[in-house]
Amino acid sequence: MMDKSRRKFLGRSSASLLGVVMATKLFPTKVAFASSEVTLCEAAINEFAYVYRSWLKTEVGSPSLYIAQSGLSSDSSLKQIQALSSTQFRRAETHQLDGLVLSKIEVALMADVGRLYC
């Protein structure tokens, strides 16, 4: 069996990470079934679960708590999240996923999705 690579996932998600996160966060089931590439979605789900486990190893508190404390809510726009993400990068508020440097809010959002599958 050949799994899709983490590299591809990371490459793709780095291009549209927040979009993926937002869509998956709000409609995880729909996203999974909407895609014809079911294996990709499975891989993505595995990745989100992996991110959640990684979050638990290094961060204090749940990802959802972190998101709430960051001032984001379900009403937040993608632009707001992107702005926060940029600010966090510049403040070095980052989290490394096997070396991939992501802002904490990105990781928290992915981890929050991953929590659903763990």
Binding site: M2, K4, S5, K8, L10, S14, S85, S86, F89, Q96
Partner: protein
């Protein structure tokens, strides 16, 4: 005029105003610059116009640090020197590279960027990339590409230029020497010794052999030795054995502070929009290639106490950028040695997650054919960063016991990289990753799980040998003065990157050429003054 060494059947005594030892990049530029001054010049070159295995053998080291390339492979002993196989990647040093920086031990040149700046434009012509400079805003406009670091407070875009094909110095600039009546170029002529008058502090003669034992002499007013970053040190050490360290080695500096540019593929870059990065890919411009690279702003280097660092982007396929293949190699190596690598779990995960590319690698190796169509598709950028090495006295060229065919002792190359330089590279890369994220250009992956291999078998080198006869204001800290004159002598100069006290992050050739033009000017003036 070229005089092949085999024409000298008997011991010959030659006289000249200037004797240039070495017909590589620095030697050719010096001869060209001085040739117009009606000064009689003799160039002595160990090789000829053609490559010869026998001649090249003199570069072979007796011993080199593990993984460090033998100079036999990185240098070229022939007219034009190592320009015969270089890639012609040129940029000037940054002003900060010349400065004394408290966090970089033994940094600081006795000259400033401003001293060299007037010569960089002419140097650009010599290296075949024209005299239109390296100003980022100029190239942004000229190429119609975007400088993505323009609004950054951390990064800026530097410019590298190369000519296509790369400038081969003898082919490009040799004609002026072969047709000039005031220049004699002796080929297959191996410099083995000098005569030094300890009272007058002058080198009076250089001796060369055209075959082992057949020795000739050159008497000159001025001697300039340009044998490259390793052999300048080698011959200086050899001369000093005879003259009790009076040739610039009173303080045991010859051969020390040996530096290179480690090239570390320590990060991958996943861009948001690949087509934004046109400025950072090779822009073909009528026999020249111009490309941008990321570097840190000078105020950031100061504020963060960082060595200089260059972060170019190199397009990489899914296959090349695969974590799985890298982990596969690490696991295979470790397990075959009966050990378990660090980050074992991560490697297993990479392997499994990236199984398609691992299978691709196995197929390519075992069956010599690809397995997946998308293996060669764009996967991201590799960041083959070039780092400035902190000068280290213990990193050195020394004489070995073995001798080459002409009886000159071979070198031992003990190249060392400080742990603090490695740590600093990771710190710099994290800052780079943060700023790339902050600029919303993409995401950077640091390849820390490959750390051991990155500094060993996977470490690349610029083959830029520097620092072994460093320039300084005082003989306590260097071998040559601000005019490249050897301490303790009145008429003996060294050319090339061996005189660089620090190396920045740029390939040295453009600076070697600029400094050679400057040196020629000084020699001309000095000779005029001497009558």
């Amino acid at each position: 005029m070229i005089i092949p060494g085999d024409r000298l059947q008997n011991t010959t005594a030659i006289e000249a105003d200037v004797c240039i030892m070495g017909g590589g990049v620095a030697g050719i530029v010096l001869a060209n610059e001085l040739a117009s001054s009606q000064i009689k010049i003799v160039v002595i070159e160990a090789g000829s116009e053609d490559y010869s295995v026998e001649v090249q053998d003199a570069y072979k080291a007796e011993h080199s640090t593990q993984w460090y390339p033998d100079p036999l492979r990185s240098r070229m002993r022939m007219l034009g020197g190592s320009s015969n196989h270089w890639e012609n990647n040129t940029s000037p040093l940054d002003p900060i590279d010349f400065e004394k920086r408290s966090w970089v031990e033994d940094s600081g040149w006795p000259i400033s960027y401003d001293d060299l700046e007037p010569f960089y434009r002419s140097a650009g012509v010599y290296v075949g990339v024209a005299d239109d400079g390296y100003e980022t805003s100029y190239w942004e406009k000229k190429l119609g590409e975007r400088d993505l670091a323009k609004n950054s407070k951390v990064l800026e875009t530097g410019i590298a230029k190369a000519s296509t094909p790369p400038a081969r110095f003898f082919a490009m600039h040799g004609q002026a020497l072969t047709t000039s009546e005031s220049v004699e170029v002796y080929t297959d002529a191996y410099v083995v010794d000098v005569e030094y008058d300890t009272e007058k502090q002058r080198v009076s003669k250089a001796f060369f052999e055209t075959k082992p034992g057949l020795r000739h002499s050159v008497k000159a007013k001025t001697f300039i030795m340009c044998f490259g970053g390793i052999d300048n040190a080698r011959m200086m050490l050899a001369f000093n054995e005879k003259y009790n360290d009076q040739l610039g080695n009173t303080f045991d500096n010859v051969g020390r502070y040996f530096m290179d540019h480690p090239v570390v593929r320590a990060a991958n870059f996943f861009p948001h929009q690949r087509d934004q990065f046109g400025f950072y890919q090779g822009n073909d411009l009528q026999s020249r290639i111009v490309l941008g690279f990321f570097k840190f702003r000078q105020d950031v280097l100061i504020e963060q106490s960082l060595n200089n660092l260059r972060m170019p982007l190199s397009s990489a396929s899914n296959y090349l950028i695969s974590d799985g293949i890298s982990s596969h190699h690490i696991l295979t190596d470790s397990l075959s040695n009966g050990s378990i690598p660090e980050n074992f779990g991560t490697h297993i995960l990479n392997y499994v997650k990236d199984l398609d590319m691992v299978a691709e690698a196995i197929s390519r190796k075992a069956f010599k054919k690809p397995l997946f169509d998308d293996a060669d598709e764009f996967g991201g950028f590799q960041v083959p960063l070039m780092m400035e090495q902190t000068p280290n006295r213990e990193s050195r060229i020394a004489l070995g016991d073995e001798k080459d065919a002409f009886g000159v002792r071979r070198v031992n190359v003990d190249w060392r990289l400080n742990q603090s330089d490695k740590d600093q590279m990771w710190r710099g890369l994290e800052m780079f990753a943060n700023e790339i994220g902050g600029l919303a250009l993409g995401r950077v992956k640091l390849l820390k799980e490959r750390e051991d291999r990155l500094w060993e078998s996977q470490l690349g080198y610029g083959h830029h040998h520097m620092g072994t006869t460093r320039m300084s204001n005082t003989p306590e800290k260097g071998v040559v003065d601000a005019n490249q004159k050897v301490f303790g002598t009145q008429n003996f100069f060294l050319g090339g990157s061996s005189v660089f006290p620090t190396g920045g992050h740029v390939p040295p050739t453009l600076t070697i050429v600029a400094m050679s033009i400057r040196l020629a000017k000084m020699v001309r003036e000095e000779m005029k003054y001497d009558g």
